[in-house]
Every structure is written in C-alpha cells, then in structure tokens.
C-alpha cells in the first residue's frame, strides 16, 4: 500500500465513524449551553437509529437513493420527540438532569426493540438496501494528493456534519439567539431579569440536541450498522458526550474532538490492515476516547469551562 491509499483509507473510515459523533456532540453542546445536562444522548441516538431504519426499510423502493437522507431527517424528528420527555421533566417538573437523562437511556433500547418485535415479529431488522455508502465530491476530487485522500470515496454525511458544525458555531456565538441560549446556561436569573424566556431557551437547547442526536443515530445506523437491534448504539452517545467535554462545550471543539474519537475508533477497526498499528492491541484505541476525556477533565480543572449553571434547575419565582 502506498502512502496516499493508506491515508485515504484512514481518512475515509475516520469520517464514516466521526459523522454520527459530530452530529450528536453538537446537540450535546446546545443542550449543555442552555443549562441542561443531557446524558440521554445515547437513548436519543437509539431512537434516531430505530426510526431511520424502519423508514428506510419501508420506503426504500419509493425514494430510491434519497432514502437514507430522508431517513436521517425522520430519525432527527423522532429524536426531537423523544427528547421532549427530558425537556418536560427537567424544565417544568424540576427533575434531576442525570436521573432524567438516565431514564432516556433506559427507555430507548427496550422501546426500540419492542416496536421492532411488534412490527416485524423478530428482535432484529433486515439489513437496509439503501445506505449512505461512499460519495465522491465532483471537482474537488481531482485535486492531486488532497483530492483522493479527502474528497474521493468519502462519507457525505461527515462533510455535511462539518458544515453543520460551522453553522451551529456561528449561531451559538454570533447571533442573538445564541447569546441568549448561552446566558441561560451561565446565569438564568440574570437572563430572566433581562426579559429572556429561560424556559423557552432551555426547551430550544434540548430540542436541538434531540434533533441532532436523532440525526446522529440515524447516520450511524444507515452508514455503519445497516440494521437495528439492541446492540446498534452501544456507547456512541456517551462518546459524543465525551466529545462535548473534550471540545470544551464549543461546537467547533466538539467537531474536532469527534473527528479525533472517530479516528481512534476507526483505527481499532481497520488497524490490522495497517502496518505498525496492527501490533498495538486494539483495546488502547477502543478506550482512548474515554481515557482522554477523563484526563482532559482533570487537566482543565480550575479553568471553569462548563457553562456555570449547567445542570442547575431554574425555578422561576412568582
């Protein structure tokens, strides 16, 4: 294998594994910046994966090549609906964010499998026929060296995710909505005094995270696993949560962190095709994202990077 094909292999598989992480982590960033801890990302991804697979299996013949893209949107909407549970519980009913998020994680896999059993009468779906596959960006792919590595046979959802993260960074830091959202995560009392509707902002934060998480789950299901079963989403959501922290609660940071985690994950899978890497036990690649997150948390202590009121319920006084 020459260097270009080796790099192309690494980059394309990194992209494939990063795309769901980027999307979900962006959701986590929005939720946490609005002041709601969302450890239910895993459950939201599961619902996204479930609904997109069902949609894909049902409508593959109708929509043809567009099916996975529409399926991803369906997954996003399903994730958004599911995250309403978390929103109502934490914002209106003063529930503890960690418990409520855990409920999402406990609820989603059995609910998904129950519905699969109710619809298809078996615990695991068929493989989908229309998946994301590989995509060559016309024009850019012809650039020497860079073209084959980054733009040829690459993952289209990953490039979309990168563009979305730039967009969401702009929204969070350059628009009035973003400023208001962040103020609700930093100091809800002050935000309320200034006339910002804290509850509405926090709803926005969670619902965006539900949509993005659902999208992430759908992309994972339709690009990597290809079907839905109880073990489709295993730890992806928690890895996205890790990316939120590693990325210091910033959309672009979360994107880079997700790319890095995607890289580690893909190395643990394609590693044995590569010289040098194949000698390292894959366990190091598998646990790398989690270990790095803990280390980063320890190192960043003292530089308060998390939103100040993250995880604190805001109860409006009458």
């Amino acid at each position: 294998m020459n260097i270009v094909t080796t790099l192309a292999l690494i980059v394309s598989s990194t992209f494939v594994y990063s795309a769901p992480l980027i999307l979900t982590a962006l959701g986590g960033v929005y939720s946490e910046n609005s002041g709601i801890v969302n450890i239910g990302l895993e459950g939201i991804m599961t619902m996204g994966a479930f609904s997109s697979i069902v949609f894909n299996l049902t409508f593959a013949s109708t929509f043809g090549k567009a099916t996975p893209w529409i399926g991803a949107l369906v997954g996003g909407i399903c994730g958004l609906t599911f995250s309403l549970l978390h929103a109502v519980a934490t914002i209106n009913f003063h529930a503890n964010h960690v418990i409520s998020g855990t409920v999402l994680n406990l609820m989603a896999p059995p609910l998904g499998v129950f519905l699969i059993k109710a619809i298809y009468d078996k615990g695991q779906t068929e493989n989908i026929t229309q998946n994301f596959g590989y995509f060559t960006i016309p024009g850019l792919a012809n650039i020497p060296i860079i073209g084959p590595i980054f733009f040829k046979n690459t993952s289209a959802p990953a490039w979309c995710a990168i563009l979305i993260s730039i967009l969401l960074w702009w929204v969070l830091y350059k628009t009035r909505f973003g400023l208001r959202l962040r103020s609700c995560g930093e100091n809800p009392q002050a935000a309320d005094t200034m006339g910002i509707h804290v509850y509405a902002m926090r709803y926005a934060g969670i619902l965006i995270s539900g949509f993005m998480g659902g999208l992430g789950g759908a992309v994972f299901a339709e690009a990597i696993s290809g079907n839905f079963s109880v073990s489709t989403i295993v730890g992806q959501g928690f890895m996205a949560l890790a990316a939120v922290i590693f990325g210091k609660w910033n959309p672009l940071g979360a994107m880079w962190a997700s790319l890095f985690f995607g890289f580690a994950q893909s190395l643990s899978i394609i590693g044995n095709q590569l010289p040098l890497i194949s000698k390292i036990p894959s366990v190091y690649m598998q646990i790398a994202p989690y270990v790095i997150t803990v280390v980063v948390l320890v190192l960043f202590f003292g530089k308060s990077v998390a939103p100040a009121a993250d995880g604190v319920n805001y109860i409006k006084s009458k």
């Binding site: 009913f93 503890n96 855990t102 609820m107 295993v234 730890g235 928690f238 646990i287 803990v294 202590f301």
Partner: protein
Amino acid sequence: MIKVSPKIKRILVPIISIIAGFLVGAIIMLIWNYNPIQAYSSMFASALGNMNGIGETIREASPLIFTAIGFAIASKAGFFNIGLPGQAQAGWLTSIWIVLAYPNMPKIILLPLAIIVGTIAGALVAGVAGYLRAQFGTNEVITTIMLNYIVLYTCQYLMQQVMSPNLRIDTDTTKNISSNGSLKINWLTNMFGGSRINAGIFLALVAIIIYWFLMKKTTMGFEIKSVGANPFASRYAGMSSKKNIILSMLLSGSFAGLGGVVQGLGTYQNYFTQTTSLDIGWDGLSVALLGGSTTIGILLAAILFSILKIGGLGMQTIAGIPYEIVSIVIAAIIFFVAISYVIGLLFKTKDKKNNYQQPQRKERGPNNGIDGSNIEVGKKGQI
C-alpha cells in the same frame, strides 16, 4: 388535594410512580394490540406461582440489592455513581478469575478470597472517580460513565488476550468454576425447584443490615451523610470532605463489585464477554432511586424489579408479549420517581411547623450572630 403527613407522602410517591409506570406499559401494549391484563397476570403468575419462579426472583434480587446499596451510599454523600455497571463487571471478572486460577484451594479460603478480591476490584474502579473528584474536582458523573466503557473494553481485552486459554472454553466464555468457589447451595437449589438461587441472597441481606448500621450508627456514616447534606458545614465541623468523598466512592464501588461477584459466583458460575454495560448496574440504580436509598425501600424495590424481570420471561412465553415491555415499565417508573415534584403536588403536607411561632429576635449581635445567635442587643443603656 389530599392532606397527608410528610411521612405518608414519602411512601405514596413511589407507590404512585409504580402504578403510573405499569399504566404506561399497559398503554403501550394496548396500542400494539397486546392484552395488558393477560401480560401482567402471567408476569406475576410465573414469577411467584411456583417454587422455581420464586427462587429465580430471589436470585435476581440479590445482585440488585448490592448495586442499589452501592448507588445509595454514593448518593448519601452527594454523588451520582453512574459507574455501577463497570464496577460490577470488574468484580465479576476478577472473582471468577481467582476461582478459576486456584480451583483446588479449600472452599473456606477460596470463596472469601474471591469475594474480597472482587470487592476490591469494584472499589478500585469507583475509587478512581472518587480520587479525581476529591483531588481535582472532576465531575464524577462523567468519570464514572467513561470508566464504564474503559472497564468494558479492558475486560474484553483481558478475557480474550490475557487470560490463559486453559481457563476458557473459547475466547468469549470461561470454563465453569469449581464448586470450591461457588455460592451454590444444594439444599437451597433443591428446595426452590432447581432454580439458580444461591447464597448470594444471604450475603445481600447481611449487606442491607451493614448498610443500615453504617449509615445510622457509625461516625463514618454520619460524616458521609453530612458531607452530602452540606459540605461547607461539615468542613467547619472538622470533617475532611476529601477523605469522605474517596471513602464513600470506595464503599459504593465495593458494594457494586459485590453485586458482580454474586452474579458471577452465584448465578452464572462463569464469565462471558460483555458487549454492553451490565444490566445489574442500571437496574441497581433504578432500585435505589425507587427505594429512596432506604433499607426497606431498596429491599422492596429489588424484589419488585426482580418479579418484573423474571415474570417477564414467563410473560413472553405464555402471552407472547415481547420481554422488552418489562424494561419499559421500569424506565417509566424511574421517570415518575424523577418527576416526584409533580406527584408531590397532589398532596398537601400537614406542616406542623406552622403552628409553632418562632420567637422573634430583635437585633443580632455585632458579627451576625456567629458567636451565639440568641444574644439580644437591647435598647441603649440596658446592658
């Protein structure tokens, strides 16, 4: 609005949560054309209708009691130990490994050794999170979640690459342990119609008593509780918050590890590669939340969830309803426990304090009452 005393309210909230959880399950079943009455009746019938079912239910409850105590201790100290699955898994693998490595050691040494090693393994995993929390203020929710996955993949690696092939059947399953390290008791198994019930339940009952004694009767428990209730006041009273953070996490992890030990040496008699974080961890968390971290509450909640889980298997075969409905019901119950604030609004507590008129202080001393709040400063010239 019903008027109740705060004590009754504390009991009513979980009961209403349970009923609401069952209703959610029933509604979901109705939507998909299953008969909820048939489901729930076959569930209870198969869990409690014969000796084998009862034995299995008790067997299922034992590890849950341990993991629930683990969660409860950490939450008394003000922490969320989400890492129960990882801690239990560490306990499970190490205890099985010890027994497999020394199969011929006398039972009286081997069994306690395996239990202790498993306990320590669980404690160490939680201790990492506790140490980081105490030393660097790292959020324990995140560290314990991350540790779950670190343990999950490390155990896979240890199992597949490090463990001697002589101890395994294949890369994913170990051999069965010798009877010298097993918690199985023959007369108990025979009494309960050949179920997998084992000495774990006795250990669990002892653990509940230890937990009660620790929290209610010892200085250690008092310090853990007060650090959880108010870390600043505890420090002012001369308690070391760092010491108590680490201590509570170590205790929490050791109980979770014991849960894994009981699961391994009692239920399965071997270890097999896990692909997701352990159920008993999450279920233990649910048990502790429903039981409100009280001794009786944990015991009852563990039994209830075991009935659901064991009965669910029967329900699947008898009524043909997917087993997953059980986990949905459990998750729904915990959801209602989480929003107990709303359930609490249904009741008005009789507040006895309202009848008691607090004596009005006129003015406080010069330094805001720190050196004696009851010193009244009267009018000029009186002192």
